[in-house]
Structures are given as C-alpha cells and as structure tokens.
C-alpha cells in the first residue's frame, strides 16, 4: 500500500464508516412495534413512500458493478456496451405494466416473494420451488459481482488482497441482520447523493480537460478503427444490431424478475407510489448513459487498466480514470460512491434471496408450522449465509467465473417469466406445462451459453451471451441474446405442455387469486393495512 493514495483512502474509509453507522441506526428509523416478522425485516413494513422507493429501487438496480462494468464494456467494445441505456428505458414501462399487478395481488394475499405468488396462482409448490431456486441461484453471483466492483476501486488505490473486502462484508452482514431492508433504504440516500455528485462533476470536468465531447468520441473512433475486431466501434455494425436490441429487451425483462427488484417494489406503499417512481426513475438511466461514456473518456485519456498476473483487468478503467483526472480528495469521494454503491444492492439482494428460501423452501418443505418470528429469524440467518457464500465465490473462484455466473443468472431468471410475468395476466397455462417449459428453457439457455466461445479471452465456453443465428442453420451473421431464444423455447414447451396436460385431463392447481386482486390499491377493503402476515 503506497502513500500516494493516502488522502483517497482516508476519505474512502471515513465515508464507509459513516454509512456503517447509518446501517445500524436504521433499525430505529420508522421503528415498528416488532421486527419479528418478514413484513418488517424483509420489506421495511411495506410502507415506503415515493422518495424512499425512488432511492431504494434506484440503489437496487444501478449497482457498483454497473458503474464499473458498463464503462469497461464501452471501453472495450464501444457502442455495443451502450445497450444499458435502451435496456433501462424499456424496463420502466414494463414494470408499470407488470409489477404493479404483482404489488396489488401481493398486498391482498400477503405475498413476500414472486414464488409466493406462483404458488397461490397455480396451486403448485413444485413450480414455486423452481422459481425460488432459480431466483436464489441467479442472485448469488450478482452479489459476488458487487465485490468485484469494490475490488476494482481498492486496486486503483493500491490496496490488494482480500482482507478489506471480508471486513466490509462482515459489517454489511451485521447491520443487514439487525436492521433488515431499512438499512439499505437509508444508506441509498448517501449512495445516490455521492453518485450524482461524482457523475455530474465527471461529465462536466473530464471532457473539458480532454478537449470536449467531439474529441472524446473521435479518439474512441480512432482506437476502434485500429483494432482488427469487426464488431467494435462507436456505432453498431450489421451483425450485432439484433443482439443489441434483444439484449436490451431481455435484460429489461430479466431485471424485474430478479427477486431483489420485486422486494424493492413490494416495499412501497401504494400503486401510485410505484407509478410515480416509474416516471421518475429514468433519471438514473440518464446518469447511467453518462457513466457508460466514461469508457470513451478513458480511451481519450489514454487510460491503461491495472493488470495483475499479466491479465489486464478492464474493470479498473473507471477507477484509474478518476485517479488520473481528479484531485486526490475528490477521487476518494468518487471511490466511496462506488464502494457504497456496492453495499446497497448487496444488502437488498441477500434479503430477497433469504426471503425466498424462508418462504418457499423452509416454510414449504421443512417447517410448515413456522411462526412469523421463526420466519424472520431464518431469513436473517440465511441472509448471512448468502453473503458468506458470495465472499467465498470471490475468494475461491476466479472473478471471471462470477461474471460467467452472472451471465447465466440473467438467462435463467428469464425462464421464470411465463409463471411470474405472464401469470399476472393469464391463468391459461397448466402448472405441468409451466414446469416443463421452465426445464426446457433452462436446458436450452445453458446449452447455448456453453457453446459460445470468446476468442479474445481465449475461452471455448461461456464466452458471452450473443448467439450466432447461423448455428441454427440460418444464413446470416446476426447474433441474438441467448436469454430470449431460451425464453422462446420455454414458452413453446409451456404452451404445448399445457395442451397435453389438458388433453390428458391432469389435475390443475387451484387459483387462490381473483381478478379484482390484481388492481386492488391502498385503501381498498381487501388490502390489509399492516396485518399482512396473517394470510398466505
């Protein structure tokens, strides 16, 4: 550890300490009578208004990994990395259409997780188990990637080794255990203020030092023109346009199926709160677009990523850019923004995964007579285990492998769309068909991912999520996002399976919900005020 980065380290550590204290104090914030049930610990009392929801969901969806990886992708591949922008534009109208119905039905019936909904809608604990396991498996690497984000910042400060990360996560685990969803909700305020500050300064200050935006883009273009790879550049070429659009759509569909985004939405107070947020959240997309452009600024500034063991870690381009451009004290603030940006989503994700385990595995299969207090305790414990698992992923596995897992996570979480997403609109599918479709989609998705090589990284398998259509016998160079192809397989099998099950007169599960449940709002008689734990 060198003294060059001392100022940065001090500011980073001070801000980190501040949010840790906030995390512990959060249990007193909007204090409930008891923290001994999942509605309080896991959903913050389901009482968050517009502002808190805005910060919470924003903190949830725009993670440290996003801040580090999206510009790294733009740095490496150019326009293709900008998919994050259409992706986050498309996601809000989709949420508007779908999750708002999930909010209503969940408040009427006291659902805590998407798998709770599936169980009641299709009368199938097995399908709910499939949804819950998919959610947990997809979330774990996501949490691990938050650590990759912190590590990139630490590397830029000259701190190597894993100890700091273990300490950071131990503190995070402790206050999540104590305060539940209230901790990330409170910390999200600090995180977002810092992020906005840093990004506004970055987009005004850095280009002016580099000669203006036009020069930034021209420098990027010059770099990509020199490289042999055909698909990079400041614009898309003929082969990756379809992939760009399908990746944006697929990621948007996947995003709100992730248990942690559902957690953020369910914690809000009313339908209007969600709707208002859907029109206000795109402010983050704007910031994300600007963050993506940091990748081009890094090119123009001639940033060289930090390499370890001969392998350049492109995730460090943004931290290095900040380090080169900003005065030390502001670099410290910027790094703290990224670091804290990792804590908020990591906390929400571990809570969401823990809720899934408790509601749909523990209560369903292990202890059906668990009390509310036992549920809350199990969730707290599982949230610890999930974090230990995430740290173990980083310590024991190559970080590269976590990125692969994240890639897989996005594809597999999409396979819950027919039961969770479409289930909100139609009860047409048979539970047998849905289970078959889920299995087929998972298998198809994993098989396709396995087949994709990445010559640039010298990998034969799991090299990316762009599937060549020529592999399917089509005469084109176009590529498509694997998740959507797998989803198509899933839907086809689910539909066919439904017809077969009907023809064979297999018993279908009972639907515990009614049409009116999907539009119920705060104040309606069937929406219980706080005694939500009684049902389900």
């Amino acid at each position: 550890m060198s003294t060059d980065h001392l100022t940065e380290l001090i500011i980073f550590a001070a801000l980190f300490l501040l949010v840790s204290v906030m995390g512990f104090v959060a249990s007193r914030w909007r204090r409930p009578d008891t923290m001994d049930n999942l509605n309080e610990w896991g959903l913050g009392g389901r009482s968050f208004g517009s502002w808190i929801t805005w910060f919470l969901v924003g903190g949830d969806l725009y993670t440290a990994y996003t801040f580090v990886a999206v510009p790294a992708l733009v740095f490496g591949a150019g326009a293709a990395g900008f998919f994050a922008v259409p992706y986050t534009i498309v996601v809000y109208p989709l949420v508007f259409l779908m999750l708002i119905r999930l909010w209503s039905v969940s408040h009427v019936h006291g659902f805590v997780t998407p798998a709770d909904f599936v169980r009641a809608r299709f009368g199938s604990p097995t399908l709910a188990l499939a949804v819950a396991i998919t959610g947990i498996v997809a979330t774990m690497p996501y949490i691990a990637l938050q650590l990759v984000g912190i590590e990139a910042v630490l590397k830029a400060m000259g701190v190597h080794g894993h100890l700091p990360i273990i300490i950071a996560f131990a503190i995070l685990a402790a206050y999540t255990y104590q305060s539940g969803l209230r901790a990330p909700a409170l910390i999200a305020f600090v995180k977002d203020v810092l992020i906005y500050l840093v990004i506004i300064v970055a987009v005004l200050y850095i280009p002016s030092k580099l000669g203006g935006w036009g020069d930034v883009f021209d420098a990027a273009k010059a770099k990509f023109d020199q490289t042999p790879a055909p698909s990079d550049g400041v614009l898309l070429d003929g082969t990756n346009q379809l992939n760009y659009a399908t990746l944006a759509l697929g990621s948007a569909l996947a995003l709100f199926l992730y248990p942690h985004s559902v957690t953020g939405i369910l914690a809000s107070r009313s339908r209007d709160t969600i709707k208002r947020n859907m029109s206000a959240l795109p402010a983050y997309s704007f910031v994300l677009g600007l963050i993506a452009l940091l990748g081009f600024m890094a090119i123009a500034a001639g940033v060289k990523p930090i390499s370890a063991d001969g392998k350049a870690d492109t995730n460090t381009v943004v931290p290095v850019l900040f380090d080169n451009m900003f005065p030390d004290w502001f670099t410290g603030v910027a790094f703290a923004a990224v670091g804290i940006g990792a804590l908020v989503p990591a906390a929400i994700m571990s809570i969401a995964a823990a809720n899934l385990f408790t509601r749909n595995i523990y209560k369903e299969y292990i202890r059906p007579d668990a009390t509310d207090k036992q549920e809350a305790n199990v969730s707290k414990l599982v949230s610890l285990i999930v974090k230990v698992g995430a740290v173990a992923c980083i310590l024991l596995l190559d970080p590269e492998f976590s990125i692969d897992l994240q890639l897989i996570g996005g594809v597999i979480i999409l396979q819950t769309l027919p039961s969770v997403g479409l289930g909100l609109f139609t009860r047409w599918f048979h539970r047998g068909g849905l289970i078959a479709g889920w299995a087929a989609g998972m298998a198809a998705g994993l098989w396709m991912l396995y087949q994709i090589p990445n010559p640039a990284k010298g990998k034969e398998h799991f090299g990316g999520s762009a599937y060549k259509l020529s592999e399917l016998g089509l005469d084109t160079k176009m590529t498509v996002y694997v998740g959507l192809l797998a989803l198509a397989v899933n839907l086809a099998v689910a539909a066919a399976g439904t017809l077969v099950c009907r023809a064979a007169k297999l018993a279908d599960g009972a639907d515990a919900t009614s049409d009116a449940d999907y539009t119920a709002d705060k104040g309606d008689p069937e929406v219980k005020e706080l005694d939500l734990s009684a049902s389900a």
Binding site: V85, I89, G214, L249
Partner: protein, 54 residues
C-alpha cells in the same frame, strides 16, 4: 400508450449513425439519451391518467 416507450428504443436502425452530431455527441448517443425523455413522457401521462389520488 406505453408501447412506444418499449418499442422505439429497440429499433436500432433509427439511431445507428454518427451524423447529425449534437454538442459533439454522435446521433447514436444523443438520440438514445433523448429516448429517456420519451419514456418519462409516456409513463408520466399514463400515471396522470390512471391516478387515484393518495
């Protein structure tokens, strides 16, 4: 009403070009940032139309 906000940002042929530049931004970038405003407009209108009042 929400459909344009979902479909338009996915039509890459609309914006996959360099010119015209705006403040030095190629069209590819400023147009997509502009679509954010389109998304906000659509969701806000729908929100206003369906609001029940807190």
């Amino acid at each position: 009403m929400l459909l344009p906000a979902i479909i338009i940002p996915l039509l890459t042929f609309l914006y996959n070009r360099d010119e015209p530049r705006l403040f030095g931004f190629p069209a590819f970038y400023w147009m997509q940032l502009a679509f954010i405003l389109l998304g906000v407009a659509c969701t806000t209108i729908v929100y206003r139309m369906t609001r029940r009042g807190d």
